[in-house]
Point group: C2
Chain length 444, copies 2
């Protein structure tokens, strides 16, 4: 039997920072990651393997961060967990004991119960290099692709597959692609961009059946239309991997393993983080369906720090995303105007679009649009959206900082910012500040 | 006599947002800007006229924001102010009365008392289009330029004049260029970049004399060396324009008009903001020498909102800058490690450099370096630096948000961030978070 002070099961966006954080806070402890995969793909990078990076081996989380932090690695599947004995059984027969355990068992793509979903040529976005390599290979003989689900991953895959010269169609149940993430105006813009790149988009329509004798040849939709397809990619959400936890009688619910605000399960020695855990909203305290790598890393830094003494408390998930379509970044943090209103907030919004350079004739100028959503009752920022050039990917993090520290519209109007002609708007036109000023005007 | 509810004297980075903020908060008031310049250059854009934008007329603050906000404009010099009568005399003989007055009289480049400083061919960075046009014209017959002062403006000018094919030498009194702004490691890197572009740099040396019979032919330095120069550009700081205020017995000090935290002078009806005012540090409460357009706009949004009822209080200047040299952005916010130590803080720092894409093979990858400086006694962030691609210009604003809301190292370690393969580091490698984690490690 191998003995460790800290065992982390899983080695992706949650497992690695959990182990590294444990190392930083508890330098004297022995730490091991147990994971079943030989190689671990960078989860957010997976779509970009297919049209930009072109190889799964160029999209791996390097193991060097483990060895340089004195973290052992066991590549094996953990098949059972004994909470009383504090041991884990591995598929190869080995047993590993722990003092503290962190579960980061992740999630699995949801495969809807649709006729034909098991045909060769049907893929989902599994975080598994061998599987993704098989999809890359399958693409060699493909012309027509149907992507089911127009969320971030679906849209990013569609864009990348289009770059390979394929004929791509997105099938989306809702009114617009990206509708669960972006503000309505922003998802319309994003959808127009995707269409302009040559991707076909069918909205308000459901997948009913995957067609083909043997391998996939098409799909049948709820509006009666059938489309040719040599490959169908399902990207309709994920389900948490909670079997190991359930079998060990650790408390779980539909969205994952139940953890407290310190990322501890109902077993005092066992923490959990990442896609396998259930989450609460920063804003409402209610269940949140969000599953993001960035949330996983945040939770991991809480779990890793809290193992032997409670140091950190997380305050619920905000949800900060960004994506890029045709050189335009779309980012969102916190609640959309509609989500905020639906929850019952009285909101005031400000939105402005200005060049991201000053003067506007500086090279590389594109427009940056910013929308901010405030809770009228206390003036605090509860959501924001951006659409602009590359640097909008960092702008959304400035907005996230303001949300996390509950900055008010007046505080943002007095934001102390740095600007430069070649990389930002002018201080007079700075979007964040002016959006706050416009929201204040809307409040009065 | 013309009568206005609100008069703003000056129409640049402070005057315009002061007037617009007044309009947003007091829609019923009549507002006028009185400025002496026909055209107002974008102050931070001035260096970029000389090698990139190539025309002062393409670097103007547009007057359209005034007309669209119902703000009148009088182009005339304000020659005197009568606080008792609440009137302003203009150079054209007109008198304008006010209920509330905002002084944004700005600053003037400091011209050191050196022999030859009045020769034709000696320029400073006056925010005056006619003057800047004369410098542009003078450059047509110039080969060798000496830039005196290696601060941001000096370095940016040197880089732009080099782009015109000129032979440029920076003369700097201190050990390195940019030493008053950037952390030592960062200003060394910046200086190396400027040198690699072909700009000559002489440090630890003072300008003693400007040579030439009639027009400039060279400079003599404190180390005895003389250098040929057809044009000398002085960029050795600015002095606040306070004559109008002084003559009206408004309280001033060396660094400018004295204002309270609401940007009000000792006269209840008169506010002041921008380069003409004295400033206090956010960190120390002591006098701050900072004069930045971004500070001017922040102060303007305080002054404009407070005119008829006190709505906003500013908490002292943080100082957030960025510049770009050879496609590398250098940014800084708050205190440097040395400034913090010199003031007496016990500091803990964390610094990390990682790709700004994930995986690193994504197009456009450059390294982003982030350094964070924390006050060990309470864990709060008091300074930060970045060096990276274009988006580092927004990264420094995320750091500024964290400073403004006094985020602790642990809070930053739990930062809820958005990441994307094409525009940021991975959530595991995200620089801001990891720099905080390393600082925490340094604290324990």
């Amino acid at each position: 039997m191998k003995k460790y002070d800290v065992v982390v099961i899983g080695g992706s966006a949650a497992g690695i920072p959990a182990a590294i954080t444990a190392r930083r806070h508890y330098p004297e402890k022995s730490i091991v990651i147990i994971r079943k995969e030989e190689k671990v793909p960078i989860p957010c990078g997976i779509p970009y393997v297919f049209g930009t990076v072109m190889s799964n081996d160029k999209n791996l989380i390097p193991d060097s961060a483990l060895s340089s932090n004195g973290i052992d690695l066991i590549v094996a599947e953990a098949t059972s967990l004994d909470c009383a004995a504090k041991t884990i059984k591995l598929a190869d027969g080995e047993t590993v004991s722990y003092d503290k355990l962190i579960l980061t068992t992740g999630s699995t793509p949801f495969v809807p119960p649709i006729p034909g979903a098991d045909k060769p040529g049907v893929f989902s976005v599994k975080k598994d290099v061998v599987y993704l390599d098989s999809m890359l290979k399958y693409l060699d003989s493909v012309k027509n692709v149907v992507v089911v689900g127009g969320g971030f991953i679906g849209v990013e895959f569609a864009d990348e597959l289009r770059k390979r010269g394929l004929n791509v169609t997105i099938v989306e149940m809702l009114d617009y692609c990206l509708m669960l993430a972006l503000e309505e105006g922003y998802c319309k813009e994003a959808e127009d961009k995707i269409k302009s790149l040559g991707v076909n988009i069918l909205t308000n329509v459901k997948l009913m059946e995957i067609l083909g004798n043997g391998k996939v040849t098409g799909v049948r939709l709820s509006n009666g239309v059938s489309i040719d397809a040599d490959l169908v990619l399902l990207s309709v959400g994920v389900r948490p991997n909670i079997t190991l936890a359930q079998q060990a009688d650790i408390q779980t619910e539909k969205n994952g393993i139940v953890v407290d605000s310190h990322m501890r399960t109902n077993d005092e020695s066992i923490f959990a983080c990442g896609d396998c855990t259930a989450k609460k909203s920063f804003f409402t305290g209610r269940d949140s369906p969000l599953k993001l790598a960035s949330i996983a890393t945040m939770e991991a830094r809480v779990a890793g720090a809290n193992l032997f003494r409670i140091r950190r408390e997380q305050t619920g998930v905000i949800g900060v995303f960004s994506t890029i379509i045709d050189n335009q970044v779309f980012g969102v943090a916190g609640l959309s105007e509609k989500e905020a209103q639906d929850f019952g907030y009285d909101v005031a919004c400000g939105e402005i679009e200005q060049p991201n350079r000053h003067p506007g004739g500086m090279p590389g100028m594109v427009l940056l649009k910013v929308k901010l959503i405030f809770n009228k009752s206390n003036g605090e920022l509860i959501g924001g959206s951006v659409r602009g050039g590359d640097s909008a990917g960092e702008s959304i993090n400035t907005i996230s900082a303001c949300i996390q520290k509950k900055m008010t519209a007046d505080e943002i109007a007095m934001f102390q910012l740095g600007t430069h002609p070649a990389v930002t708007a002018s201080p007079i036109a700075y979007q964040l500040v002016n959006a706050a000023e416009l929201a204040i005007k809307a409040m009065s």
